[in-house]
């Protein structure tokens, strides 16, 4: 038997390789994902290992501070006590804050600032160039910051401290911080001496102090001594080992989440690959009916036939796993390069291949293949020995009858799906609604998959109408061929259908979200330009609004402030801007009543808090006194703030009194080059950034398109696998129909027509998958947008016809490519040889 299997594999190598490509791609995806996850864990581990190196004791602020005005932290007195504790060789504060860094063009960017350890052992970075700062007017920056902000050693570097005070430092060195969230975020990173760091925001004490032990002390002894010195309350005192363990746990959790997302895509790819494999084996078995029957005649038992087919699948799965494993390592290297290219400085490509990864790829590759082959193998055992004596393999028996089980299964999935969707749409919480409705759509997808063979006939008749009318006999034959074995056609197109469904679903939802966001921007930015602060939490100076108002090209300006309560935030706008630059839709009450001490709240906020016009809301800011504000109106708008109040009212809150959140600028009609005029005023201010609605939209759209592109690429893999499936089915069908093709040729079909016939068949199958997939995807997209919509946010369905057209065109082109080889093969066979083949 073994010999037969090996000989069979050898003889069918080309065919099996084609099918194993599908599995190999799926495995490559899984492997790539796992390797990437491990690589991220490893590099984060490296990073955190740096953070924890030489740390024997870590003191972190834990509990609540005693008074609300005091920011919790480690006071200089506590630091001194730690330093004096027996066994502490050195102790340094660890902290970070975002600080605006003024780049070469005079504009501020957010940067992470950290205090560098005074003790070299406690430093968490690796020096690249120069040296670390020793004086308070010196600074070091991370390698990438130096290159993006074009900073060289010896140059001055400007940071904006509290109150936009400019602090100038001399750059003395660059360091490498490795791959972590900060470096991936694209933020700049600068290091200062502890004193210089403290000077940026004097009243904020550090949240952590790390210490290294003197020779002769164990970690535990030093921990105990530190605990004795500063007491237990309000601090979490950990040994270096505990700190390492804790951070590593966090690291793994984080990279685990990322891996999970990618794995979801890998699973889609594998499901599609499994369908292709299933199909391949089904066809292989159907095609080898006579061979199997001959084996049965010669004395092969059912079990031997079953094992034979499975063994073939096993070998194929193993081979595909090996290819996939190496492919996946390549994929991971590629993905890391892509990730590094987002930031500049780059990083080291890590390719950790763990035993788990290898085991997983082999398990997935072989298991999926073998499982996909089980049904076909069972079918193979049912081949009657007498089939060896028939001149033509009996392909009629495979034509499906509507089995009760099939319909019942489809109905079951359908009911679950519709139930999930209806239930999900009723849920107020967006995430939960999307999840439940999303699961519902997947159940519906399953229902359609189960019903596939029944759908093939009608869909084929509809889609085939045009080619039948235009292309004549070959197209008629092609359409008949596509419909002759509904089960096979359904299985072939199902893979593509899944891919297209998910792609179009994501595309529709993303585009709908984009349109909604754009509408929101229009609403939020009624002005021509909006001036905002480049740095979060740094308001714009008030003079800026006056300066802007004085510009001759400017019609009017409206500054806004922001007031943060405990669970809400409100926008403060000048009274006279309401109705001009601010035009919220009023659902009850009147904005005319909006005056000092009153507020107009957003409908969603009103619902959440259960307030109505005439009632009072209490806003308790982070700093300062709680204020009671009377609700005079309820307004509606896409995700505006929770409400608006007048500038005067907002100035009751200290944080809003500091400066402006944004300044809306409306130009006079017909002004050309308004932007230059506005920028003349804003340029000297490092914080001020000028945005127009159009630009903001473009930025947002770019980001969404990037995400969409990423998802297209991921699902694209599944689509590629699916197209391999079509090529596969066609190749096998061509082999199966050698005799038929020869007969057609004998009857006068030209080679070109024969090729055309196969191309049309391929295109029909691809379109079947794509058309059903698109319908489902758009329908599901509608479901998801409806689920996302609630009282205050309505996501409108937007069908991106352009992108869908691209998808359809892609499917057609790919189908033509998929048909190329099989068509060549069919046309090459000579008529006589084809007829002779029994």
């Amino acid at each position: 038997m073994l010999r037969t299997i090996i000989a069979g594999l050898k003889a069918r190598t080309a065919r099996l390789v084609l099918s194993s490509v599908a599995i190999a791609l799926g495995v490559a995806f899984v492997t790539g994902t796992l390797v990437l996850g491990d690589a991220m864990t490893a590099s984060l581990r490296d990073e955190f290992a740096k953070g924890a190196r030489n740390v024997d004791v870590s003191v972190t602020v834990s509990g609540e501070s005693s008074s609300p005005d005091e920011i919790p932290g480690i006071t200089p007195e506590t630091l001194a006590k730690i330093r004096q504790a027996p066994g502490v060789a050195a102790a340094d504060p660890r902290d970070f804050q975002t600080v605006p860094l003024v780049a070469a063009n005079g504009k501020a960017k957010s940067a992470w600032a950290v205090p560098l350890a005074s003790n070299e052992k406690l430093n968490e970075f690796d020096l690249v160039d120069g040296r670390y700062p020793t004086k308070d007017d010196e600074i070091a920056v991370d390698k990438r910051t130096a290159s993006t902000s074009k900073l060289t050693i010896g140059q001055p570097v400007v940071l904006l401290g509290e109150g936009d005070q400019r602090h100038t430092y001399t750059l003395v060195g660059t360091y490498q911080q490795g791959t972590n969230q900060v470096s991936l975020s694209g933020y700049d990173h600068v290091g200062l001496t502890a004193a210089a760091f403290q000077a940026l925001e004097p009243e904020r004490p550090p949240y952590q102090v790390v210490a290294t032990a003197a020779a002769g002390f164990t970690q535990q002894q030093v921990v105990d001594n530190v605990r004795k010195a500063i007491g237990d309350s309000g601090f979490k005192i950990q040994s270096g080992e505990e700190l390492t363990r804790e951070t590593l746990e966090r690291v793994e959790q984080q990279s685990g989440e990322f891996t999970t997302v990618l794995l979801a895509f890998a699973i889609i790819a594998l499901v599609v690959a499994a369908m292709v494999i299933y199909n391949t084996f089904t066809i292989l078995v159907a095609q080898r009916t006579r061979e199997l029957a001959l084996m049965r005649c010669v004395g092969a038992s059912r079990a031997q036939v079953f094992r034979g087919v499975l063994a073939e699948a096993l070998v194929m799965g193993l081979a595909a796993s090996v290819i996939g494993l190496f492919g996946g390592i390549g994929v991971s290297a590629l993905l890391q390069r892509v990730i590094f290219s987002f930031g500049e400085g780059g990083g080291t490509v890590l390719l950790p291949v763990t035993a788990t990864t290898v085991a997983a790829s082999f398990a997935v590759g072989t298991l999926v293949t073998v499982l996909a082959a089980v049904l076909p193998a069972r079918k193979a055992t049912r081949v009657a020995p007498v089939a060896a004596l028939r001149s033509q393999p009996d392909s009629g028996e495979e034509v499906s009858r509507t089995s009760v089980v099939r319909v019942l299964t489809a109905v079951l999935f359908g009911v679950i799906g519709v139930g999930g969707i209806v239930f999900g749409m009723g849920i107020e919480d967006e995430d939960a609604a999307m999840f439940v409705s999303g699961a519902g759509t997947m159940a519906l997808l399953a229902a359609v998959l189960v019903l596939g063979p029944l759908l093939v006939g009608p869909v084929n008749r509809v889609l085939g109408a045009l080619p039948r009318a235009v292309l004549g006999v070959p197209a008629k034959l092609a359409s008949a061929n596509a419909g002759r074995n509904p089960k096979r056609t359904a299985a072939t197109t199902a893979a593509l259908m899944i891919g297209v469904t998910i792609v179009s679903l994501v595309t529709v939802v993303a585009n709908s979200a984009k349109e909604t966001a754009n509408a929101e921007i229009d609403q939020r930015m009624p002005a021509d330009y909006t001036v905002t602060s480049a740095v979060y939490g740094r308001p714009l100076p008030k003079e800026l609004a006056e300066q802007l108002a004085d510009v001759p090209e400017v019609d009017r300006v409206a500054p806004t402030t922001v007031v943060y309560g405990e669970r809400e935030y409100f926008t403060g706008v000048p009274r006279d801007a309401i109705g001009t630059l601010f035009r919220p839709t009023v659902t009850s009450g009147s904005l005319d009543d909006l005056g000092d001490g009153t507020v107009a709240v957003n409908a969603q906020y009103a619902k959440r808090q259960g307030v109505a016009v005439g009632q009072v809301v209490t806003v308790k800011p982070g700093q300062g006194q709680a204020q009671e504000l009377k609700v005079v109106a309820i307004v509606e708008g896409q995700r505006l703030s929770d409400g608006i109040m007048t500038m005067e009212t907002s100035s009751r809150f200290p944080q809003a009194a500091e400066g402006y959140e944004s300044i809306l600028v409306k130009l006079k009609d017909g002004v050309a080059n308004g932007r230059a005029a506005v920028e003349k005023v804003t340029d000297p201010s490092p914080l001020a950034v000028v945005d127009s609605a159009a630009e903001t939209k473009e930025q947002l759209n770019q980001q969404l398109n990037q995400v969409l592109g990423f998802i297209w690429a991921l699902i694209g893999l599944a689509v590629v696998i699916a197209l391999f499936g079509i090529a596969n089915t066609l190749t096998l069908s061509v082999l199966e129909r050698t005799r038929e093709s020869a007969l057609l040729r004998a009857l006068g079909l030209t080679k070109g027509q024969l090729r055309l016939m196969l191309v049309v068949e391929s295109v029909l199958m691809a379109l079947m998958g794509a058309a059903i997939g698109l319908l489902l995807g758009i329908g599901f997209g509608w479901v998801i947008t409806e689920a996302l919509s609630n009282d205050t946010i309505s996501v409108d369905l937007v069908v991106p016809f352009g992108q869908i057209g691209v998808m359809l065109a892609g499917a057609v082109v790919a189908a033509i490519l998929a048909a190329a080889l099989p068509a060549r093969r069919a046309a090459r066979t000579s008529v006589v040889a084809g007829m002779a083949e029994a």
Partner: protein, 250 residues
């Protein structure tokens, strides 16, 4: 010659009693076999003949246990096979029955040698090398053993099929139009071999054919028409078979 085989013509190798086989249902039902009873002696070469649709192939399928029957019984070497399950039938085919078909006798993926030994390998039996060599030499396949079926002529392919049928020393070899796809010279070679395997090696061969010349190689011809036995001829010649067939057709 007969020293090798002592029970020529005395023992029954295959017997059928009242065989009924119906294809289809209701109005379209066809009684392909309508109560056929026939015996085949061991060590004899029997040809089953008849016009198209006479039921000769169906008879062979039922005799060989390839097809199930709707009535009657089949006995091979003392074993009643109509009641056997798939497992027992498989074992029967492995150990006690050999097949030679009109076409598609060989697995295209295996060499001639592997094809010959396939049945034994499936059964997990060691081939009797001496016997194997005898058959290969008699059939003149020695220098073709390493070739794939596609590299063999039609006649060679049929000879490989004969070798495979014989290598397990079955109780009976069923041959279904073994010369149907061959030119007359190759066909004669194959028939010569089948006859020789009966006379010299003591095999039992049952052959279905519609060619009177092929039938003339047999010791006995069983004639069929419309699902019934329609007579038999001992020690046939091409002419006697032809005239019997003409009689049937009339």
């Amino acid at each position: 010659m007969s020293a090798l085989v002592s029970d020529v013509g005395t023992r029954t190798a295959v017997a059928a009693a009242n065989l009924v086989k119906v294809y289809g249902k209701g109005d379209t039902a066809v009684r392909a076999l309508d109560g056929v009873s026939v015996e085949f002696a061991a060590g004899r070469f029997t040809a089953i003949m008849g016009p198209s649709g006479s039921g000769k192939s169906t008879l062979m399928h039922c005799l060989a246990g390839l097809d199930n029957v709707d009535g009657g019984s089949v006995n091979i070497g003392g074993t009643e096979i109509t009641s056997l399950g798939d497992k027992e039938l498989t074992r029967l085919r492995r150990d006690r029955v050999g097949f030679v078909f009109q076409a598609f006798n060989l697995l295209p993926t295996l060499t001639a040698e592997a094809n010959i030994l396939l049945g034994l390998e499936l059964a997990g039996r060691k081939p009797d090398r001496e016997w194997f060599d005898t058959i290969v030499d008699v059939l003149g396949l020695r220098d073709r053993l390493k070739h794939k079926p596609t590299e063999l002529s039609g006649g060679q392919q049929q000879r490989v099929a004969c070798a495979r049928a014989l290598v397990a020393r079955p109780d009976v070899v069923f041959a279904d139009e073994p010369t149907g796809n061959l030119d007359s010279r190759s066909g004669a070679e194959v028939l010569d071999f089948l006859r020789m395997s009966v006379r010299k090696l003591g095999q039992t061969v049952i052959m279905v054919t519609h060619d009177p010349v092929a039938a003339s190689y047999a010791d006995r011809v069983v004639l069929m028409a419309d699902g019934h036995l329609a007579g038999e001829i001992d020690n046939p010649t091409a002419d006697s078979v032809l005239s019997a067939l003409k009689h049937l057709g009339a």
